[in-house]
Amino acid sequence: MRLTLNGADVDVDAHPMKRLLDVLREECGLTGTKEGCGEGECGACTVLVDNVPVCACLVPWAHAEGKTVTTIEGLADAHPLQQAFMDEVGAQCGICTPGMILAAIALGPNPSLEQIKTGLTGNLCRCTGYEAIYRAIQSVNGGRSDASSRKRSRTA
């Protein structure tokens, strides 16, 4: 069976009921997709299937046959959200970050704060209290995911 993974056609030889998560991590060697709970609660394994965010731990990989799958590796380090998550400390321990970034991409351009909060409900972060994640996403909205926002001191 074949799918389009991060822009390239790949053939995968695995049991069709194998979790997409395991196929990505084990068959394709793409370990950027993380397992947090294995039951679709935490969103750490979020990937985009035909641009829709799904929990790869809940999807038998056969469901992705013929579809376009994007993992964090597919962003090729080029997405402004990636630098923004580091600059704004939207990533602390980093384990939820790949899934969080892909879920954030699925929000589309310039989401409002309410849209961000609603859209990321399925992605748990235990480190940040989410505020820095909102800042990271909004900094890209405003097109200032660069040093100018990094220098902003929050010291009162």
Partner: protein
């Protein structure tokens, strides 16, 4: 340009955002097996038989007889076995280890254990086995109560809390030389190193390497030692690398949680609100083994009188054994439990006396020159009044208190503090070491303090850069490998910046002197390696009497005030937190964005502790060991977090910094519960679930013989 105080680029690089960084489960070693742990299913009794009901071909199987050294997981007291021999003290205790190439085969293997059951104890107040007891006394309690106009009493409870680091526990053990190398998700590499040496016996090679760690919060302080011992036994027996990564259910079932607590307060007061006597009784549930409970109890008790002055104080603490998995380190380490009790009690005192809750706290708050419960004289870095005033002003507490009257909204506050570093003489005994050395690119710092998301690498590099007077970009951080880095102590107790950062600062200053004006890279190229290693030196004035629990419990404290605003759904009794204003004095923010992240994240965890995180125990095991029914705050459960950093420097900290990591989790639970109390609901326990609120209202209504559920009166005061 100074690095300290600015939001420099983090040393983590971009790897966490590209998925390239390798966590334990991302690593694959040649010939690697997967490991699995067979655990007890009863809370108390003894094992009579173990049955291997599967074809064992291709399996590596270990039990306690495979341990070459001692069958204990070394920590404070040598009571916890690595693998159960016969006696079972809690459910989910490890008994047998299996390894196989195929995870499917591993999961299909069926090991049966036969038991002789004994009667378990689950309620710490009914346990007759004391794990640790301590007493803090100051002044004359009887005299203090005799001078009181009013006495207010109360009992306050907190539940278990699960860490829910999003990366579960995981390690890989690899046979190396005549021993083992362990790679894993670890907070305290030298704890694991030590545990392995005890497990394997003398003269065996041991090396522990931290892989990128997906959150810890105290949850990866002690348990990784157990996990590393297990993987090591399988690796040595099979002669192959063995990976053990827990799934979420096993992680929640088997590993430590925050200690549940029951705290009784009896407080004597003058009519104007001055405290004349404080009698506090703290009970925590230690679980089945000692692990870290004695030190959790210690920190909990020292913080139990809150940031308040009182001449006559008695704090009695007990940690009790029960037949549940051991409770352990969790951010705050006893202080969130006891300060929850203190701050809700203060609110009840204000209600009872009819005094303003802010004024009550102002009147009693510790000031420079005051003595704490252990008799520690506070210095100029005490900021209790400052944070209180700032938080009240910034949050609009007074205006909103009036505005919310008669609505579904409530507002409450909590004033709290947190001691930085190990308690008492702990830092002296630890004698942590850290080093800096010249490289061909600049300077490399070497510590065993782990990056677990909080920013250790970055913050340490900033301190070294400024102490050396070199650009931040020229400082690199050595990967953590116990065969390479010095033991800078565990990454716990809000000590990594203040204590380890200070050692690094001194080492960097000395290296700078030795270089005598040359750049580190030049020196390296001309003269070869140059390294300076320093050891922690506690402040010379720090005095602590371990036997009497008197003296300087901590070198300094960080101070904070949280104001919480909540909204009550009067149909479902759900409480929605709307906003938390957190004003926190951390001495100096080395990296303001990272420091803010610590406070926001800790506050978020505190919101979960306050409202939704409920561990349901059934027959001594966590019954809701899944993220489906143990929920942590999502984006929609987390209120707006308004964080203000104050900087009242601790002169002996690096650039004035105090401890920061734990402080923020001490305040949200009492602030939120006090906000609920402002709605007239007498809650004294967390998590304050809808069921708890419903029963609080129900009992009040039946007491008042009132039938209209929708009418709430003034806050219920309970006079003594």
């Amino acid at each position: 340009m100074n690095a300290v105080g600015t939001n420099v680029q983090r040393k983590d690089g971009i790897g966490k955002a590209t998925g390239r960084v390798k966590y334990a489960d991302d690593l694959v070693m040649p010939g690697m097996l997967h490991g699995r742990t067979i655990r007890t299913t009863i809370p108390s009794g003894r094992i009579t038989n173990i049955r291997y009901d599967f074809d064992t071909t291709g399996f590596t199987i270990c039990d306690h007889r495979d341990i070459p050294g001692r069958n204990i997981v070394s920590l404070i007291v040598d009571d916890q076995p690595c693998l159960v021999e016969r006696d079972v003290r809690h459910a989910a205790e490890p008994v047998v280890l299996l390894a196989h190439e195929s995870r499917d085969a591993l999961l299909a293997a069926n090991v049966g254990i036969d038991y002789e059951s004994a009667t378990p104890v689950f309620d710490p107040t009914k346990s007759d086995t004391i794990l640790k007891e301590l007493l803090i006394e100051k002044g004359n309690l009887e005299k203090g109560f005799a001078n009181a106009d009013v006495i207010v009493e109360g009992v306050y409870r907190t539940g278990h809390q699960e860490h829910v680091y999003i990366e579960t526990n995981g390690v890989i053990a690899v046979p190396e030389k005549n021993g083992i190398a362990v790679y894993g998700s670890i907070q305290c590499p030298f704890y694991v190193d030590r545990a392995l040496r005890v497990l394997l016996g003398p003269d065996r090679y041991v090396r522990v390497v931290q892989t990128e760690t997906g959150g810890g919060f105290g949850g990866k302080e002690e348990y990784p030692s157990m996990l590393a011992c297990h993987a090591t036994l399988l690796a040595l027996k099979s002669g192959r690398p063995v990976k053990i990564v827990y799934d979420r259910v096993e992680d929640m079932l088997a590993t430590t949680k925050r200690h549940p607590s029951i705290v009784r307060h009896r407080t004597g007061l003058k009519k104007d609100g001055r405290i004349t006597a404080m009698d506090v009784d703290v009970v925590i549930d230690g679980g089945a083994y000692v692990t870290l409970s004695p030190v959790v109890l210690s920190r909990g008790c020292i913080h139990a009188a809150g940031p308040y002055r009182c001449a006559n104080t008695k704090i009695r603490g007990r940690a009790m054994f029960t037949n549940t998995p051991p409770n352990g380190a969790f951010r705050g380490f006893g202080a969130p439990q006891t300060q929850f009790a203190m701050e809700v009690h203060m609110e009840r005192i204000a209600e009872t006396l009819g005094v303003d809750p802010v004024k009550l706290r102002e009147r009693n708050a510790l000031r420079a020159g005051d003595l704490t419960a252990t008799g520690q004289k506070l210095r100029g870095d005490c900021s209790a009044l400052h944070v209180l005033k700032d938080a009240v002003k910034r949050s609009g507490y007074r205006r909103k208190s009036n505005k919310y009257k008669g609505t579904n909204r409530g507002i409450g506050l909590a004033l709290f503090y947190h001691g930085s570093g190990f308690t008492g003489s702990g830092e002296l005994k630890l004698a942590s070491r850290a080093a800096v050395e010249c490289t061909e690119r600049g300077v490399r710092l070497l510590v065993s303090s782990t990056e677990i998301g909080q920013g250790t690498r970055t913050m340490h590099a900033q301190i070294v850069a400024d102490a050396m007077g070199i650009p931040y970009e020229q400082v690199e951080v050595a990967p953590i490998d116990t065969s390479v880095v010095p033991d800078s102590g565990p990454t716990v107790a809000s000590r990594t910046c203040m204590v380890v950062g200070k050692i690094l600062e001194r080492a960097a200053q000395e290296l700078k002197e030795k270089l005598n004006g040359a750049s580190p890279a030049e020196h390296f190229k001309r003269n070869g390696p140059l390294k300076v290693e320093k050891q922690h030196v506690p402040p010379e004035w720090l005095k602590w009497d371990e036997d009497r629990y008197r003296g300087d419990a901590y070198a300094t404290y960080a101070w904070a005030c949280d104001v919480a605003e909540v909204e009550l759904d009067r149909d479902t009794f759900e409480v929605r937190p709307l906003r938390i204003t957190a004003v926190q004095d951390i001495g100096k923010a080395i990296h303001p964005a990272l420091a803010t992240g610590q406070i926001e994240g800790g506050t978020g965890q505190g919101v979960g502790f306050a409202l939704i995180e409920q561990v349901v125990m059934k027959n001594g095991a966590m019954a809701n060991s899944q993220l489906t029914n143990y929920t942590i705050p999502t984006t929609l459960d987390t209120p707006v977090l308004d964080v203000v950093l104050l900087e009242n420097p601790f002169p002996e900290g690096p650039f004035g910094a105090k401890g920061l990591g734990e402080l923020p989790i001490d305040g949200p639970a009492p602030a939120i519960v006090n906000a609920i109390r402002s709605l007239g609901i007498d809650v004294r326990e967390v998590p304050a679930t809808p069921e708890l609120l419903f029963s609080a209202i129900g009992s009040r209504l039946s007491a008042e013989r009132h039938s209209d559920v929708l009418t709430y009166g003034a806050p219920v005061a309970t006079p003594a």
